[in-house]
């Protein structure tokens, strides 16, 4: 009797022990993230001022300088990538949700799955051979294409999943009124699912904003201001990579400031998307 009581106590103790361990391990996951956030904010926020945002980087040896070219370059590259990826992604998502069982949909879905797992550096290689070589040099547009390829799976998936959840009665009501297919899709289905589609788009932008690997052999980087899509262009992640691995302290300072801006930008986009999806009650 006594031994059984002890046994029960032992089992309960073991259970509590594991619960405590789980809680401890789970909470400690967040610790590195908080460390990184605090460290980057501390190192970066002091570097950021108006001069930093509106000036070009200075050569080695001169202190000061800013990241205006990288900031603008990032925005341009991301905008062009979005212009390429958003229409394509949404249309593909519509196809997948409208033709759930066709053979083409099966293969297409498989390809989206594959593309989602492809390492970003591989996409950089491919963009190099598709655009950089034929165009005869590194260019911003090739970087945009590489990033657009990375955006596609996220946009397609979120569009498909959102549209699938819409009730068939919506579609049928449209058809019953004699609307042609394209108007049912564009005027009824897409507006109903727009919140989910937009969340997917924002998520994809947040994901590519910090991507460096595909830009290494495409946009390449450029220490000067450039607006030409056919010429190399600087972007924030590239600047951080190049300056962080350089041996100069002045450049490290620039990289800390740039990291801080990139981090705030990406986290803000992510948190904003999360709040929006909660408000719109979207499931992604």
């Amino acid at each position: 009797m006594i031994s059984m009581k002890n046994n029960v106590k032992y089992r309960i103790g073991k259970s509590t022990g594991f619960q405590a361990l789980t809680i401890l391990l789970a909470c400690s996951c967040v610790v590195p993230l908080i460390f990184i956030l605090i460290y980057i904010l501390q190192a970066g926020l002091t570097k950021i001022n108006w001069h930093f945002l509106t000036n070009l980087p200075k050569p080695v040896g001169e202190s000061g300088g800013g990241i205006a070219n990288a900031l603008l370059g990032s925005i341009i590259i991301i905008l062009v990538a979005s212009v390429i990826a958003i229409p394509f992604g949404i249309l593909c998502g519509i196809y997948l949700s409208e033709n759930r069982k066709s053979r083409l949909a099966y293969w297409s879905r498989l390809c989206v799955d594959i593309l989602q797992g492809v390492p970003s550096i591989v996409i950089g290689i491919v963009a190099y051979f598709w655009l950089v070589k034929p165009l005869g040099g590194f260019s911003a547009i090739s970087g945009s294409v590489a990033l657009a390829i990375m955006m596609l799976p996220i946009i397609i998936r979120s569009t498909e999943e959102t549209l699938k959840l819409l009730p068939d009665s919506l579609r049928e009501a449209g058809f019953a009124l004699g609307l042609p297919f394209h108007r049912v899709v564009l005027k009824v289905i897409v507006p109903c699912g727009i919140s989910g589609i937009l969340s997917g788009v924002m998520l994809s932008v947040a994901r590519i904003a910090g991507e460096t690997a595909p830009l290494l052999f495409t946009a390449f980087g450029n220490p000067y201001m450039s607006f030409n899509l056919l010429k190399p262009m600087q972007s924030l992640p590239l600047l951080i990579f190049n300056y962080a691995t350089s041996p100069y302290n002045d450049w490290h300072d620039l990289a800390w400031g740039a990291s801080c801006i990139l981090l705030i930008w990406v986290l803000a986009l992510n948190i904003f998307t999360k709040l929006m999806t909660r408000k719109w009650k979207v499931q992604l």
Partner: protein, 328 residues
């Protein structure tokens, strides 16, 4: 359109004013309506065709990626053959290309990272899926863990370079190995932090799906919380948890920037887990723009091809497992 029959159906806009005055309003609206429905049908066909073209283009895109990699690496495949995979020297100057040091480096960093991250990600999965599925704190934890995946990898790399490398260096001095700081161990730690969210979020949703009557049956037999987790939840979600680990592995294998910045970049075979090394992705990132002759470039692309194929297989198996689990 020019025959007399057709003019009734589809009047040209310039003539429409004259035609209207000659006809009763009823027939006019019907001709207009017919014209409009023709246009609608045409637009509908165009739209359907566009959708099919887009879906085809998606397939073509992935096939194109694969074919480009294969085609561009043929030079290296021809010159080194299968020996490429276990050739132990990588010497671009003498044109000897063996990928073994990088494959070893990739496997070491990824599996070490997995070994470090699995306890944490499973703890998060159990914490959020079983112990505390609701409430403000679990919600906060869930969102924060997801944010780990959102931080750009170049920032992880920079932080690792500035903070983690000195820590690892002093740790290495303490245990008496050569204090480099940069190396496989450091990259594995960074990777471990980065891949936690993938296994955690998939594991959480899998644990959520365990039917409550199974758990209640175990409780009614007198099982403690831990015993339910170990003998009901883990066996039931086995394949799902494994799929989460596979997704993490896929991420770790392909991760480039953070690893490139802290691994030390040497083409020698790493002697221990504290030695500097290189992964497949980091070699490509470092040497691609420096590759000055075709065989060199092609050897680097072959690395990319291997990376591509491995991650595709891992992700496909992971997706299959998840699909099976959710269908049951």
């Amino acid at each position: 359109m020019k025959s007399s029959v057709d003019t009734n159906l589809a009047t040209r806009p310039s003539e429409s004013g004259r035609v209207v005055s000659l006809k009763t309003p009823d027939t006019v609206s019907s001709t207009k309506r017919i014209k409009r429905s023709f246009r609608q049908i045409r637009a509908e066909n165009v739209f359907r065709r566009t959708l099919i073209i887009v879906a085809l283009a998606m397939v073509a895109l992935v096939l194109g990626i694969m074919l480009t990699l294969i085609f561009q690496s043929t030079l290296s495949i021809k010159s080194s053959g299968l020996g490429y995979l276990w050739g132990k020297t990588w010497d671009p100057v003498r044109d000897i290309f063996g990928a073994y040091p990088f494959i070893l480096g990739t496997l070491l960093t990824s599996f070490l990272a997995l070994a470090i991250s699995i306890p944490f990600s499973f703890a998060v999965a159990v914490f959020l899926g079983e112990y505390y599925p609701q409430g403000w704190f679990p919600n906060l934890l869930k969102n924060t863990v997801e944010l780990i995946a959102a931080v750009p990898s170049v920032i992880y790399g920079f932080w690792g370079l500035a903070v983690l490398v000195p820590i690892v260096r002093s740790f290495e001095t303490k245990i008496g190995v050569e204090p480099v700081g940069l190396g496989i161990f450091t990259s594995a730690i960074i990777l471990a932090i980065m891949v936690i969210p993938y296994a955690a979020s998939l594991g959480r949703s899998m644990i959520h799906m365990v039917p409550s009557n199974l758990k209640e049956a175990a409780y009614s037999l007198g099982a403690t919380r831990w015993e339910v987790i170990r003998s009901v939840i883990f066996p039931y979600t086995k394949s799902g948890l494994f799929a989460g680990v596979l997704l993490s592995l896929g991420r770790a294998l392909g991760e480039t920037m953070a690893v490139t910045m802290v691994i030390g970049n040497t083409s020698l075979i790493p002697k221990s887990i504290f030695a500097p090394g290189n992964t497949m992705a980091s070699v490509i990132a470092n040497e691609f723009t420096e590759a000055d002759h075709p065989v060199y470039l092609s050897a680097l692309i072959e690395l990319g091809l291997v990376l591509f194929l491995v991650t595709v297989v891992i992700n496909m198996v992971g997706k299959r497992l998840v699909g099976k689990f959710t269908n049951e």
